[in-house]
Assembly symmetry: C2
Homo-oligomer: 129 residues x 2
């Protein structure tokens, strides 16, 4: 399936089609976990420290409890965030990035950096589209 005639013909920079496809695999894996409208925003919110459910919801505009709950579950399953329940009065739940979740920081920071420049750009042109 690799190094066929098809394979070597077009990709510049010494990369065959098959090699390019290989380069894409990790990106695909990352995207599987991180894609969607909310996940990276939630993770960014948690990089500032542990947070409660309502607090996260308050910070992220437009985020409904249903989505937040769903996304937090997925983050837990993928071991990016942890959930701690405290047996207090109306129950307190805290979410926090795991050690593994914290490895996403450089990525998030790049996203934030790029987003900041991009935001300036679209504002300079008077809004988007």
């Amino acid at each position: 399936m690799e190094t066929t005639d098809n394979d070597k013909r077009k990709c510049p920079n010494h990369l065959s089609t098959g090699e390019c496809t290989k380069q894409l695999l990790p990106v695909k894996d990352a995207l599987d976990i991180l894609s969607g409208k909310w996940k990276l925003q939630i993770i960014l919110s948690l990089t500032f420290g542990k947070k409660r459910f309502k607090q996260i919801q308050r910070e992220i505009t437009g985020l409904t409890p249903k989505m937040l709950s769903k996304e937090l579950k997925e983050l837990e399953i993928n071991e990016l965030a942890s959930r701690k329940v405290y047996d207090t009065s109306p129950v307190t739940v805290e979410y926090e990035l795991t050690t593994y979740g914290k490895t996403l920081k450089p990525l998030i920071m790049e996203l934030h950096k790029w987003g900041t420049k991009h935001r300036k750009r679209i504002i300079a042109r008077g809004g988007r589209d």
Copy 2:
């Protein structure tokens, strides 16, 4: 709407709710453009050099012409990629990252780096879930 009682109460690390929300804005903007299953994969593919339609499709497994066409249009609209048509025999079309599109490289590289580590992790546990 900001600096109310609500505002200062819970966010640790000296960030009020409103400040956290502000930090999230650029990330939201970036996500608006980059989210989805294919866009970042296409951009990564183009960081290796200019490519033709079919070549991109060949590299990215599972990508249908309809989606590719749609995503490329959106990348064009957002000035991340450019499209050049050559008046050859059955017509040649080449896609390339714009200068602006190239500013995404560090982000893509972080994604690739994280994805690589993540991939090892999930493979080590024998698949995901």
